[in-house]
Structures are given as structure tokens and as C-alpha cells.
């Protein structure tokens, strides 16, 4: 027999004997967890030849009904964990090795860290409550939503989550869910709880937001957008004055409007939506009957 063939069979036999004699040192792909260390050379305690590791073998020591309540020797745990027990009960159709790694060699936490939702069968993966039951927040958003958890949350973490406002039934007000999100600054204070958030904010994020000041007063070259020129800090943005500038002294304004027969001249933007003094179009009359703000919006759309 040639030298190579002899070498092959001698090494083959030697290695096979070594593997049979001390499998822990010669073939196992990493040390067992400390709790399983006594099984180091007893491969068949967990492995079934050609079939791998079955849950049935694990359960010979770890009775399914007692996981989280008792240890593998049947002793009651000092701090029983009902949630752990429930988790295993609900997932009893799954193989232990889908989540628990062995031959990892180091920490028990390493085994737990191996759990991934991708390993779950489709049925259990869609039924989040099977494992996460009781974790659902009791707030208005979650109690009203008829959506599945997976519609907003991912399996990586609860947050960040995405929420499709389009899935809500119509008629709801933003403040029914976002009341606590409303800022307390001057800009928002006057909006109270029934503010029309959507006129400035979108449903994807609070910012960026758009605010159309032109709905109330359009700026021009004579009227730069400095809030404090017209609004008094601390009084809210719904209050304003046009008499702070040299061109709009109260006496002069009163006189000019009196000539036109207009007595109610203090609410300037009711008729003048911009710096154009002719914008009111001579529709004045006693009592300031220029029409309501809403009526004028259409007319001023030039």
C-alpha cells in the first residue's frame, strides 16, 4: 500500500479515536455554557445522530411547564418569572435552538441575545400579543387604534415607530391624541385645544411646519416681518397694533377714516390685508361694515 494511503488511514483512525475518547477537546465547536459544562463529553445527551438537537431532549431537564418557575433540578426559583414561563408556553411549537445558542462558550446572556424575530414562524411572528401581551400602552392612541402592532412598530425596538394617520377614521381632531404635544408658547397658546394643527403641520412630523401669515396680513416692503413691530410680547399673536409706526398715528388714522365715514378703524387687518391703504376699496361705512375676514379672503386673493 502506498505511503499516502497508509498516512490517510492512520490519521483517520487516530482522529476518530480521539474524537470518540475526548469529543469535548477534539470536536466540539466551542465550550458549553457553565450550567451545561458537565455534558461536555456527552454529545448524545443533547444531539440525536443525523437529526440535531431536539426540544424533547432539552425538556428532559427543562420541563416546559416549569421554565421560569423552577430550575432544571426541580427547585423553585427565588424569583419566579411568570412572563418567562408564559413566553415559553406560547412558543412551545418552536425548537429551543431557535433562540438559545450553545457552544457559544461564554455568557448566558449571549444565548438570549441570539433571539431574533426572523426565526419565528409566520403565525407567531404576526401575533405580537402572544409574547408581548400586557405591554400595550393604555394611552388614547393605542386604545383607539385597531391596528396591528407591526403596522407601526418594528421587531428591532418599540421606538422609533411609524404611524400612518391615513389609517384613522375621519373626523378626529389632532388634540384628541396630541393634547400634551401642544407647545405653550405665544404662537400656539391662543389656539386652545381645538386648534387646527393641520393648517401648519403635516402628519409626518411636527417640523417643518408652514405658517401662512398672509391669511391675516400680507407683508410688503413697508411692513417687514418683525413680530414685535405689531405684536406685544406676552400678549399672544392674535393681538396686534398698527399704531406703533409714525405713519399710523391714532389721531391721523381716526381722522382719515372719519372722512370716509368709518368709525370702527382699530381692527386694521379686517379691511387692509396688506400695506396698500386703498385695499379696503372704499367699502367702508358707519360701523366699519367691510365684511367679515372670511368673506374678504376670496376677494383679496390677488
Amino acid at each position: 500500500m502506498n505511503k499516502s494511503l497508509i498516512t490517510f488511514f492512520v490519521v483517520l483512525l487516530g482522529a476518530a479515536l480521539a474524537a470518540w475518547w475526548a469529543p469535548g477537546a477534539t470536536v466540539q465547536p466551542g465550550r458549553l455554557l457553565p450550567a451545561h459544562a458537565s455534558l461536555t463529553n456527552a454529545c448524545l445527551a443533547c444531539h440525536t445522530p443525523l437529526k440535531g438537537v431536539s426540544g424533547a431532549k432539552c425538556q428532559q431537564c427543562h420541563a416546559l411547564a416549569e421554565i421560569g418557575l423552577r430550575d432544571s433540578h426541580g427547585r423553585a426559583l427565588d424569583a419566579p418569572r411568570r412572563a418567562v414561563q408564559a413566553l415559553h408556553q406560547r412558543n412551545q411549537d418552536h425548537g429551543c435552538t431557535e433562540c438559545h445558542a450553545e457552544h457559544a462558550g461564554r455568557l448566558g446572556a449571549e444565548a438570549a441575545a441570539r433571539f431574533t424575530h426572523e426565526g419565528l414562524s409566520e403565525g407567531i411572528a404576526r401575533d405580537c400579543a402572544a409574547c408581548h401581551g400586557g405591554q400595550e400602552p393604555a394611552d388614547a392612541l393605542h386604545s383607539k387604534s385597531g391596528m396591528a402592532c407591526g403596522d407601526c412598530h418594528t421587531v428591532e425596538a418599540w421606538t422609533p415607530a411609524t404611524f400612518d394617520h391615513g389609517s384613522l377614521s375621519g373626523g378626529g381632531r389632532c388634540s384628541s391624541c396630541h393634547l400634551k404635544d401642544q407647545p405653550g408658547d405665544e404662537l400656539h397658546r391662543g389656539l386652545a385645544n381645538d386648534g387646527d394643527c393641520a393648517s401648519c403641520h403635516g402628519t409626518r412630523a411636527w417640523t417643518p411646519a408652514t405658517y401662512d401669515h398672509g391669511r391675516f396680513f400680507r407683508f410688503d416692503g413697508h411692513h417687514p416681518a418683525h413680530c414685535a413691530d405689531c405684536h406685544t410680547p406676552g400678549q399672544g399673536y392674535q393681538r396686534y397694533t398698527c399704531t406703533g409706526c409714525h405713519a399710523h398715528s391714532p389721531g391721523r388714522l381716526a381722522a382719515e377714516h372719519r372722512e370716509e365715514g368709518i368709525a370702527n378703524w382699530q381692527d386694521c387687518v379686517r379691511c387692509h390685508r396688506s400695506g396698500n391703504e386703498d385695499e379696503a376699496g372704499g367699502e367702508g361705512g358707519e360701523g366699519g361694515g367691510h365684511g367679515g375676514r372670511e368673506e374678504e379672503e376670496g376677494e383679496d386673493d390677488d
Binding site: 505511503k3 499516502s4 494511503l5 498516512t7 490517510f8 488511514f9 492512520v10 490519521v11 483517520l12 482522529a15 476518530a16 480521539a18 474524537a19 469529543p23 477537546a25 477534539t26 470536536v27 466540539q28 465547536p29 466551542g30 465550550r31 454529545c43 444531539h47 445522530p49 443525523l50 437529526k51 440535531g52 457552544h103 462558550g105
Partner: protein, 188 residues
Amino acid sequence: MKRYLTTTLLPSVLIFMGLLGAALVVDLLLHSVDLAWVGRWLGPVGVALLLLSFLHSLRRRKLIRLGSPKGLLQLHEVQGWVGALVLLVHGGIHLNAWIPWLALLAMVVVVASGLTGKVLLGEARKSLSTRRGELETLDLDPHEVERRLMGMALLTDTMKQWRSVHMPLTATFAALTLVHVAITLWLW
């Protein structure tokens, strides 16, 4: 001597060091992108590549008639290097068990042995070529030149001696790999 080092020895040393370096780089890359688990499945790929590289041995022993010996030798060299790289990544730097580690070590030794054979083959061919040139200057009959070159048996002897080392090393690697694969499949 310097020319011998740079044109003959250095390429083989670089090929060998390149194998170890490439294995480290690929392993590091896989770990850095959290794909270290891929290494586990590279075992069958590496074994398949090395098995395919044996086509050269089968052709040389006339057990198959597929392909040219020279082409299969080149394929043997490339597949041997790539297969070894894949298996080094598969093994990683984890001293978990002796048999797979010895198999890996044997494989690295076989690669080194193969590269040594490549150097020896090149040198022997060069010596033959030089000797042929010398004989041809003697105005000998071409058949006489061939007869005298055959008599040198330089190439044959060198490669025979090298093969007597390379093949048992390969057999050692094959036996250790077979035990590793068999136990992995048995205790899946």
C-alpha cells in the same frame, strides 16, 4: 542568488503570505458587518473547491482524460489557494477543538508544500533548459540530446521526491477534514 530570491522564491512567499493576510481581512470584514455567521457555511464551499482541484491529480494519473495537464495544474494552484482562503475564513481564529484546528494547520502546510513544489518545478525546468542549450552547442544529433537529457532525470527525480512529502501531507489534511465533516454531519 539575488535574482533567484526575487524571481523564484519571492512570488511564492508572497502568494503564501497573501493567503494568510486575505483570510484575516475577509474575516475582519465579515465580523465588522455582523456577518461572521457566513463563515460557518463556507466550509462546504472550501471543501468543494479543494475537491475540484484534485482533477489535476486524476488527470496526471490518467484516471480521467478531461482537460490538459498544464491547464489543470494551473486550476489546481488557483483552486487550492482560493479553497484554502475560504476554509481559513470558515475556521476563523477560534481554538475550539483540536481536530478542525489540526486540519486547518495541515491545510496551510499543504499549501506551503504546494508552493515549494512550484518553486522546485520551475528550478528543475530551468536547469533542463540550460543543459539542453549546452548539449545543443556540441552539434549532437537531436535524438542524442533528448537521450542525454532523459538520462539526467533531474525533473522527474526532484518532483518525485517532493511528491513523496506533498502527498502524505495532503492525505493527513484529507483524513482530518473527513473526520471533522463526518462528525459535524453526524451531530448536526
